[in-house]
């Protein structure tokens, strides 16, 4: 536990002192600000069934696929390339402590990036405070959507960490993360759009589909519905990925 704390603080310090993180944060906020701007424009032109925050979070897959791999790609691959991972493994710190510290640091960075979106909504509320639109300043949607991001982030960031363990190349790690997250998000979306209910021979897919409907999870969270199934999915997925990451590091060294 002592090593975990030391490693976590070290990883956080590295993350927030790295130009890579700040460049990624700049990219993220530009992307989210632009999406939010267009969502506001849409809502101002004609009434929409969604709030600007909901509209923005519906495109959460964009930063997920483009930004998250940039945050996790270097965590292990860079250390393996430089040889500093071997050196770290000669200390009494366990591989599990190293993996968990790197994961938690990346997850905290991911969460911090999303928290950086809150000022956009505050600014809009400040600027458009006189507009009589209750949904514009309703914080529950924002809280719900952010909760989804934080929960799903447990799995998504763990996937990034696992991919980074598998290669010495940061670029390849980012690509692997991108493909895996794309597969996971698209699979959920695709299964949701299929008329599984009417295909009896695909009945066995009903349960997995219900678990993987990522966009459905976002809607549930934003609406304040807490379903235990996505929580179990994200937590067990996280444990599985990090367990595999520990084995991958052990195997390679």
């Amino acid at each position: 536990m002592r090593h975990f704390k030391t490693l976590l603080f070290h990883e956080l310090k590295l993350a927030f002192h790295s130009w890579n993180t700040w460049a990624t944060a700049g990219l993220f906020l530009t992307l989210m600000g632009t999406i939010y701007w267009f969502a506001l424009l849409e809502c101002s032109r004609s009434p929409q069934p969604w709030t600007p925050v909901e509209g923005t979070f519906k495109l959460f897959w964009l930063p997920l696929l483009c930004i998250l791999p940039l945050l996790t790609m270097r965590s292990f691959s860079e250390e393996r390339r430089a040889g500093t991972l071997s050196s770290l493994l000669t200390t009494p710190a366990s591989i599990a402590a190293i993996v968990w510290a790197k994961f938690l640091a990346a997850w905290i960075t991911w969460v911090t990036l999303w928290l950086g979106f809150i000022p956009f909504t505050l600014l809009v509320n400040l600027r458009l405070g006189s507009v009589n639109e209750q949904r514009l300043s309703d914080p529950s949607v924002l809280i719900g959507a952010l909760s989804f991001i934080f929960m799903s982030g447990l799995l998504h960031v763990a996937i990034g960490i696992l991919c980074s363990c598998l290669t010495r190349s940061s670029a390849l790690a980012a690509l692997l993360t991108f493909i895996t997250l794309l597969g996971l998000t698209a699979a959920g979306g695709a299964l949701e759009s299929l008329p599984i209910e009417s295909w009896t021979w695909l009945g066995w897919l009903r349960e997995p589909a219900a678990h993987l409907r990522t966009f459905g999870h976002l809607q549930d969270f934003a609406a304040g519905v807490i379903d235990s199934r996505p929580l179990v999915l994200y937590i067990t997925g996280n444990l599985l990925c990090l367990g595999l990451a520990v084995l991958a590091v052990e195997g390679q060294e």
């Binding site: 030391t6 590295l14 430089a82 040889g83 500093t84 071997s86 000669t90 200390t91 009494p92 060294e253």
Partner: protein, 329 residues
């Protein structure tokens, strides 16, 4: 840090260590020990398996079979305890370029179980010992010269005052002044911690180490004190002498005293002088007073000296022996 109740007989034990990569055998049945406080040189030609052995002992690579212990703790069965007694500096000494020296050493001290209240003091101490305090303390590691990077690696190894230090080529790429500094530093560890050091610079090993372990093609070819190995691997003493006495007369003088004496002409010099090489068994009684015998027999001597066999000769004899054995097999 785990403190064993008694000091083990051997600080490092390698017992029948074997490492195979598919059909390639990197090391085979390698056994040796390092006593507490002893400095041992680990020698072998390139590709002999030195780094592989060191990695297995440091716990960063698993062996195929055999047993390795550090301060009585099994490296494979109890890695955390073994690592708490060990510091390892790998060959290329990988360091994070984006950390400052003090920052890096502080992190390493915490990871190596140095007590929180002692971390700052230990970091200061090793920076002083490794001459980092004035010129490198606050600098980024990525901006340091090769010599300073090596010093950071050694400072890291000394941080937690381990019982065992394994240094893989610690002086590679350093200039003579830096080599001298690091050699003195390693020498100062004698009696305090067991040091296993691999190096291609045999002169350096001879100067620093109490004992050497020589491997070739993954197998142990010799181990022991330099003097013992000299006796074992180089059984003959060689004298160079310059005289104007003919070869036949020299043989007449020497053979009755030592029948195994061999004399060869090395070079004919001006004025009838000849440079000879006389080979006699190391254990021979004549070795100690050859010059006196020759003078007593009326041999005119201009020069006589016994050739000094260094570690280089021992290393070459040991590796040549196994290479020849391998060729015969």
């Amino acid at each position: 840090m785990t403190e064993p109740t008694t000091q083990p007989v051997a600080a490092v034990v390698a017992e029948l260590l074997t490492k195979r990569y598919g059909s390639l055998t990197a090391i085979e049945d390698l056994s040796f020990t390092v006593a507490p406080g002893e400095i041992v040189g680990f020698l072998g030609p390139n590709g002999a398996g030195k780094s592989t052995t060191m990695k297995i002992l440091a716990g960063t690579m698993a062996g195929t079979s055999g047993r390795a212990t550090i301060w009585g703790e099994s490296v494979s069965l109890n890695p955390a305890a073994a690592k708490s007694h060990l510091a390892y500096m790998p060959e290329n000494n990988p360091l994070p370029d984006d950390l400052r020296v003090e920052e890096y050493l502080t992190l390493r001290a915490k990871l190596k179980n140095v007590e929180s209240k002692n971390v700052q003091a230990r970091v200061e101490k090793v920076m002083i010992d490794c001459d980092l305090i004035r010129r490198a303390k606050g600098r980024l590691i990525g901006q340091l010269s090769k010599g300073f990077r090596q010093r950071v690696g050694i400072a890291d190894a000394l941080l937690a005052q381990p019982k065992v230090i394994i240094l893989d080529e610690p002086t590679i790429g350093l200039d003579p002044h830096q080599i001298l500094g690091i050699r003195d530093l390693i020498r100062s560890l004698r009696g305090q911690m067991a040091v296993l050091i691999s190096s291609h610079i045999l002169h350096e090993v001879e100067q620093v180490c109490d004992k050497v372990v020589i491997i070739n093609r993954g197998r142990l070819v010799a181990q022991g004190k330099t003097e013992d190995l000299r006796r074992e691997l180089l059984p003959n003493a060689v004298f160079k002498l310059t005289s104007n006495t003919p070869l036949a007369q020299l043989l007449e003088i020497c053979l009755p005293i030592e029948s195994a004496t061999k004399i060869e002409i090395q070079e004919n010099l001006a004025g009838g002088w000849v440079r000879y090489q006389i080979t006699i068994p190391t254990q021979s009684a004549i070795r100690e007073n050859l010059a006196a015998h020759l003078i007593k027999a009326g041999v005119a001597l201009r020069e006589i000296a016994e050739e000094h066999y260094g570690l280089e000769d021992i290393f070459l004899a040991a590796t040549r022996r196994t290479t020849n054995d391998g060729l015969k097999n």
